[in-house]
Symmetry: C2
Subunit: 320 residues, 2 copies
Amino acid sequence: MTDPQITVLAGGVGAARMLSGIVQVVDPASITAVVNVGDDLELHGLRISPDLDTITYTLAGEINPETGWGLKGESWQAMESLKRYGGISWFGLGDRDLGTHLYRTQRIAEGATLSKVTAEITAAWGLGLRLLPATDDRLRTMITLAGDDADAGLEVSFQEYFVHRQHGVPVAAVRFDGAEQARPGPDVLDALADATQVVIAPSNPVVSIDPVLAVPGIRALLEARREDTIAVSPIVAGAALKGPADRLLRELGHEDTVVGIARLYAPLASTLVIDEADTALAGLVEAEGIRAIVAPTIMSTPQRSAALARIVLADLLDPS
Amino acid sequence: MTDPQITVLAGGVGAARMLSGIVQVVDPASITAVVNVGDDLELHGLRISPDLDTITYTLAGEINPETGWGLKGESWQAMESLKRYGGISWFGLGDRDLGTHLYRTQRIAEGATLSKVTAEITAAWGLGLRLLPATDDRLRTMITLAGDDADAGLEVSFQEYFVHRQHGVPVAAVRFDGAEQARPGPDVLDALADATQVVIAPSNPVVSIDPVLAVPGIRALLEARREDTIAVSPIVAGAALKGPADRLLRELGHEDTVVGIARLYAPLASTLVIDEADTALAGLVEAEGIRAIVAPTIMSTPQRSAALARIVLADLLDPS
């Protein structure tokens, strides 16, 4: 029998914490994360991949603990200089972090794929797991704004919505530009097909997991792996721990509870881990056709992340 | 009578010092520098214009006095980060300096010309003079290496030669890629045609001034302005004050003395300022058909730069 393989569908912060738990309980070499690239952007000529970097920096122990993004011990000289010129400064790029974007951009200009550069970057940080961009092709999450002001109906990039407008505006629709032409990155389909266990991390289902599923071939394959797939709810007691997942779910017509999550993930996963705060909803979750596991899901410390990982991987760790 | 206008053909360090003298003796609003862009490069996805930046930082009083390029008070966090990945690190980009390149790259991606961005950058630093890129089109100084090793015959970019190989390799030829298709930047021809006085700064004639002259229209116009053009020799006592001008002149078949400079500039300028160290060569200079002025040309202090500027602009400052 081959060693167990774990494949995790991943966005940014929530997935990074989930993965930092999983690497504590299984050999990192057995872990593959298939990572959202819908949040990626080109800015100042640079190729920026926020979710890939958040996971990398988190697992390297270098994430800025206050922001949840970027590197700790950062300086901001380049941004200060940029502000002198009136440049675009709403997307914060620390000096250390810039080194990552300079490297990625140069390598892609030289002809390397995002997958290849990502492998180089994770190797440089000494990470033992494998990060695979969902696609090496261009796929961009686009947000149509709602509301009653002049911007209603305007379609903006994800980062324009998320960072520049601080996800403080209502949303009418989400679209994944380029998804129809995008091809799964190398090894992505194999990683999903061959996994002993597939995990859907507690990332935003609408703007972190959906853009991964939008790459042709991935959703169908995941549906086929339903019995071996477990999801962790990013919604706890009707709210997102971080970011606008709850609002987005409501605005896009979903229920902003674990029941809404169950409805979204039931075709893809046979089990949903929900927080103890939602114990009362376990029955309603199971009524959606997905097994509910109640557990502490708030990964506020490395120990809690590891404990959640043990629950998520229980079948694999103790197959009896 | 309109105010006198001064137009300076400029490379990097030598021109920056010349201009820092000129702004002390005439109204900066009367000064235009037409600046070499043959040294420009794209690296890490960024648009880098070393000569424009050296002049800007020097006139802003922010140049790194030790290197002669980059900003003072720099930090190097992005480069350190880049080195972690094994990225290209031979071209030093300080964190503050990066802000300039980020801004330029973003603005050009938005459709701005290099001329427009340069005006924005100089305005942000509060400079009173006008810096005009010789062309907004792509023009790149390419160096064919000589010697007897495996690289002989190889053509490399200027920065690959100048910085990466630290101009320590012999040169067989210089070519200005794109020059034939390049158009003079906006206002460049007018600035040369309308100038009361044209100055050729003490920059490298082969790799700083020649790429400016290689833009179609500029050399012919300068020949027509010969009587109002004065050059300052970048060669003092047979050596370049900075950089490889002396070696390059020799390797490309020119004489590495003020006489060699006189021969190159006689068609373009009616006067050549040579250093006191070359007093004995004044007669040979004039034999090339160009008037020689002997003066202290080493601009080691702002005072010396101003004194040289007064000599260069003597006809204009005291037209009696």
